[in-house]
Symmetry: C3
Subunit: 253 residues, 3 copies
């Protein structure tokens, strides 16, 4: 193809499909990217090739969307799912946030400013994610979950539905969380399907599992590989399977 | 690009590459999707942008294929793999099934009706998956594995090769399974490379590991974080590392 | 679209964007793939549809790049990351190596010959991977990590930054490794952020976690589900949480 097909900074490739007219200044859109009518694109946004931006998606200034990312996925509630999805057809991505290659952001998600969404991270409907967070590679986040500012969730971790994670939390790699002791046998209801609450400043070690409805207290630490079956007070180090308190943690002065 | 490039319901985008003529009524194919000659597409199928449907793939009526999904991947047996892949150049996806964004379905796979394949799930050759299943996000399934009807396998779980999973099974998140105690040191043979068998109605908790050739009995439950080194009888709750029986489970009346 | 849009062996699709002129003989480039100016493509290379090959990427002879793979990703160091990325704008992929669908290879990565990179594997900057390795599906490898020849890393495993993995190592599925006991609280420095060292011939069982700076000795084996908190001598089997020596292993004659 010709030189005119280059996706250069500040240019919209003629090989992109751009159906919206709500586009800021100095926007770059790569080849074979798709921006649907009804999307809103801020200034200095970079949309790499093969990304798909659906109707109702709002990208703040300086947002970068890497190749193959898909923002504005409709949740699919087929016969096989217990919970029927509820959602608005909107996504809001804050300024300076970046969305990694092949990441999937469902409808009805809000992400704050200056957050990094890693390669292939998948965030379902009704989630709210704060500013200056890191949601790392292949992290999957389920429906109706809130994550506070400056929280970091490392690679290959799963955050369950109906979960609340505070600010300044660190969740290491390969951490799991669950929300249903009945494992789906009783169908879906908001009352008995409750994910963990992880309070501000807590740290969850690599490979730990958090069982339904447990609370991890402020600044508490869960050791690597622990299985947390009961709630943990503030400023407490726990370890083991099931996790038991090891000692109180002193707060930094 | 022009209005004619819209991927509207029931229309085939002029920006798609459609090489087959076996296409049902009311099919939608998005921009930059590829449907090879020799693929067969049922009625009311929706193929999102950037999906690739290879030769020999059969999509039933009402199937939905999300952006970037790749159906009909050839397994690649380079020098580095012990087992040389065996496969037919065919994939059959049942009616009403959906295939998530960036999912990869290898050749020689059959998937039943009304099943959900999650974002980025990857299913290798010689697998058979039942109807009304959920194979969730980033689940990877190895070669020659069978999964029964209505079974749910949650995010980031790995199902090994030469494995048999029954019907109505629930496998939680981040569960692992393995099939080779010699860890590849003796090369590949069907006799000593045997994955677990998980019988109908069993439940495997979050983060559990199932070692080669173990059998999990009908309706038995494996606690979160357990390492299963020995077979488990029917209707038994096991926990721990290594997993030991905790109690018998009463069957629902 | 017309017959001319077929991506046949040895042909470059007119629907691809090919901006480099450094291309060997008998190269196949699929529809909607992008090969930037300044990339170098060996003979008999196959680049599937929707792949992106950035400037400065060198693909050896017979390399195969599957759909949606992205080679030459720039690391993104936003406000949220402690460590500012350091990298050269180059990637070198050895002859006969294949890169799976949706895999992401960052800049400043070298991969040896005849290695398999699995579906969605993500390899960050400053990594060096040997020949005849398998880096399997959704494995994520962090910055500045070295992996020796013939080493196999199975699905959904995370290899941390500043990590050294020897030759002929086997790392099973869902294995985690970490590099920072302070969990990011002290900011980034090379001195206190140190990943594990896994020496030649070692084997790490499914779901094991390796904590910062531990050394796994030559030919040692870590049992499934273990949490390794201390270094392990050569030829030693360890198990448990925390992992303790179980017995010495005899070396093969």
């Amino acid at each position: 193809m010709t030189e005119s097909s280059l996706a250069q900074a500040g240019t919209i490739s003629p090989l992109a499909v751009v159906q919206t007219s709500t586009i800021g200044d100095n926007v770059t859109i790569g080849e074979f990217a798709i921006v649907r009518a009804g999307a809103s694109i801020g200034s200095n946004v970079v949309i790499h090739p093969h990304a798909v931006i659906a109707e109702g998606v709002v990208l703040g200034d300086n947002v970068e969307v890497f190749p193959g990312a898909f923002i504005g996925r409709e949740p699919k509630g087929a016969g096989a799912t217990a919970r029927q999805p509820v959602f608005e057809r909107a996504v809001r991505i804050g300024a300076n946030t970046s969305v990694g290659p092949h990441a999937v952001i469902y409808y009805d998600v809000e992400i704050g400013e200056s957050t990094l969404i890693g390669d292939g991270a998948s965030i379902r409907e009704q989630c709210r994610i704060g500013e200056r967070c890191i949601i790392s590679r292949y992290v999957t986040i389920n429906y109706n979950t809130t994550i506070g500012a400056r929280t970091k969730i490392m690679d290959l971790t799963h955050i369950t539905g109906n979960c609340v994670i505070g600010a300044d939390v660190f969740v290491s790699i390969l951490v799991g969380s669950t929300n249903d002791n009945a494992i789906g046998q009783h169908g879906y209801s908001d009352e008995h399907v409750v994910g963990p609450t992880v309070r501000d400043g807590a740290m969850i070690g690599a490979g730990a599992m958090l069982l339904p409805a447990v609370v991890v207290g402020e600044r508490s630490i869960v050791g690597a590989g622990s299985v947390v079956t009961k709630s943990i007070e503030d400023d407490t180090l726990v370890m083991g399977t099931p996790a038991r308190p090891v000692r109180r943690l002193e707060r930094a002065p």
